[in-house]
């Protein structure tokens, strides 16, 4: 269909058979790639060649391929999701690369995210944090009318800024301490900003902070790498808000 010029690229990809395998980099060539290929479509092409040659394709997580499910997770040339502003791997397009480029592809690397196979990691620790209390304990049914409690637009908008997090874990992968402060800060802030979240605000922030430590995440030392890595542009101010909420909770 397209008559675009094509690129040939050298890929240096992390391959690891299982959690206990030491893993190593392997080199592959991607041929016939156009500027309109997404990064994952480029990997699809490489995998098709590997399968035809009877070799194991590169395993990687992906699903929606439109930047919202948060499943894709690769460190590309040292940057989570490839380092483009507000872009997931699946939305990264090959027009950002040049013919002849060498590209390094690695999994998320963090203590709390053990590698499963190749580029796939285990992110259940993020679910564990949410289960610790990132919710409003309301029942199905028996709640007031949606307009019964007014929410000032700035508060609703800021809660939405925090709620945009897709839970991909890039903030953890980007952080030199492997911290999940941006992820958790966004959760704490979303509920702290809304009247519905007030009743449980103090217990929530305490248990979420606790869960972070128990899951093996590090702490924040203000590198701001998380914000740069975040494909949804979640702001580090939410970490500050979490810290404030945490402090406040000590006096409740």
């Amino acid at each position: 269909m397209s008559d675009h010029k094509t690129m040939t690229l050298t890929l240096i990809v992390w391959r690891q058979k299982g959690p206990k395998d030491p893993g190593k980099f392997e080199t592959y060539t991607a041929k016939g790639i156009t500027e309109h290929h997404s990064f994952l479509e480029m990997l699809d092409c490489v995998n098709e060649d590997l399968i035809r040659a009877g070799k194991d394709p590169i395993a990687f997580d992906h699903d929606c391929r439109e930047g919202i499910c948060g499943m894709c997770s690769q460190v590309i040339n040292g940057a989570a999701h490839g380092g483009q502003d507000r872009t997931t791997v699946c939305q990264l397009h090959m027009r950002k690369f040049k013919d002849g480029d060498t590209i390094y592809i690695e999994p998320w690397r963090a203590r709390a995210f053990p590698i499963i196979t190749d580029l796939i990691v285990d992110r259940t620790a993020l679910d564990t944090i949410v289960q610790a209390g990132a919710y409003v304990s309301c029942h199905s049914g028996g709640v007031p009318d949606g307009n019964a409690i007014l929410i000032p637009k700035p508060a609703a908008d800021e809660a939405m800024d925090a709620a945009e997090c897709i839970g991909c874990g890039a903030c953890v992968a980007g952080c030199p301490n492997g911290a999940a402060m941006l992820f958790t800060g966004a959760k704490v802030s979303q509920y702290a900003l809304l009247p519905q979240g007030q009743a449980e605000a103090a217990t929530r922030v305490k248990s979420l902070v606790n869960a972070m430590a128990e899951c093996g995440f590090g702490n924040c030392t203000n590198h701001y790498e998380c914000q740069v890595s975040c494909p949804k542009g979640i702001n580090v101010k939410f970490i500050a808000r979490m810290n404030r909420e945490f402090l406040k909770a000590q006096f409740v």
């Binding site: 439109e66 609703a156 945009e164």
Partner: protein, 637 residues
Amino acid sequence: MILDGKCPTGPIEKTWDKHRFDLKLVNPANKRKYNVIVVGTGLAGGAAAASLGELGYNVQAFCYQDSPRRAHSIAAQGGINAAKNYPNDGDSIYRLFYDTIKGGDFRAREADVWRLAQVSNNIIDQCVAQGVPFARDYAGYLDNRSFGGAQVSRTFYARGQTGQQLLLGAYSALSRQIKAGTVKMYNRREMLDLVVVDGVAKGITVRNLITGELESYAADAVCLATGGYVNVFYLSTNAMGCSVTANWKAHKKGAFFANPCYTQIHPTCIPQAGDYQSKLTLMSESLRNDGRCWVPKSKADLNKHPDQIPEEDRDYYLERKYPSFGNLAPRDIASRAAKEQCDDGRGVGPGGRGVYLDFATSIKRVGADTIKERYGNLFEMYEKITDENAYKRPMRMYPAPHYSMGGLWVDYNLMSNIPGLFVLGEANFSVHGANRLGASALMQGLADGYFVIPYTIGGYLATVKPGVVTTENPEFTKCIEGVNAYNNKLLSINGKKTVFEFMRELGGLMWENCGMARTKESLELNLKKIPALREEFWKNVKVTGSGPELNQQLENAGRTADFLEFAELMCRDAHHRNESCGGHFRSEYQDEGEAQRDDVNYCYVGAWEYKGDNKTPELHKEPLKFDNVHLAVRSYK
């Protein structure tokens, strides 16, 4: 067989309330004795698992992703409908009911649709209580916008990520129940069989996608909330992992598949750029609130920059054809109109497969900042994919497969014809008829999960003794052995073509011959070609690796094998339905481009029964009665 949907009778506005009262209840102390399996954790499955866990049932929930938060409901952009009538513009439960029946081209059950419209208001309250940050106005009230197929503003939204926010709401409720121990969550599991014991659904077989091990789970009821099947077209707006597999396995165990030919082709998606492409990206229908669809009037203008085509040389074809709905015409109509323009040789962009969606008029009227506030993330997404700035140059759009209205047949209680098997959300066929209106999928998923299944499942469970069947039952071993043999067969073929190649070929056949327009001939062609392709698949597919390990090729191969069987049923259904309605457009049955229904012969739900490999399935009919909305030609002119 004539199927009975077991719909309550009497005045429509009392049906659900009366039915709820008539349903049997399970004593609170007894609920914990019952095990319920929920497969899929999107809006329907996530909400169901959370609500059932909260009621006190023992719930086991399953998803193929690494977290329940990633189900594809998350990708819905535009919004969710409810009959709140907050804007005071004439909405009511009755109007939402009426619009949905009409929008579905009179191929849905009245009682089911009424219930949906009735509980729509509870959904908004529920989500607000959960902390879903819906858009609000400066006074702090919930904001609404209009959406395709409706003349009132009843759509609630959270920027362009409504599905994400609603799913995260359901996921938060689910997480709360996981923490409370009422729900046990199994991530990265794919359902590969339904276990039926003495004609009753009693469990599932799943593959652990990390270890490759096959596992059995038993329960007193099984709920499938496993989404739709439009990945049968290969290129669609669905996630890569969306498949017909869970539904198809249940179908092969006896569940009837209803109206498989009703698929929705969404009018506003980014056109395909190349053959390597793996999926299509949707741009929310809400864009049609402010964008105007047009193509050049003359083919001579096709290669011009859109700015250089003056107003009088543009054909705003939706405004021309449907003056009262204009750019807000329903999806099936808008998609077909786009195809018509392109078939006429006036499509824009690569391959002439595109129409413009132009925001210039709205930017002039309300300013670029307002447009950015409304659709900023969509414009950003568009630019990432196409490298074009839609504030300056109209978007290029083309229809793409998006949603399946068909699904497993269920009665009013959402139970399939297999006792104990419930089907929720997009996976069932129940409320959208032959065409779904925008912002109604989120509404249905959450309605089924929060407010329907918690009542109706009790009515069933109250009639069965809990825990009678365990995984010790030989039927479980039999299912595991069957799945194991099937997977080993896939792995042993070692042919020459990859799974993707087969899927691409099947998708091409379906899009070409069973897509936006179908004919008797095109469908008959497919009914020959699909079995041949399936035969080739089982001789010539190449799947690397082994069973007991993480093997994404094996996952894809299994899903493709199921699509290769399902596709035939879909074409068969489309072939038998000698009429056009909603998303099912048979070119032979039209009135100058408008769908021509045949209410005398086809006013029924067509539910297919599986009769064995390579055997002709049997059609069962459930007649549709319209007591409240009069059957009429659906006009948006």
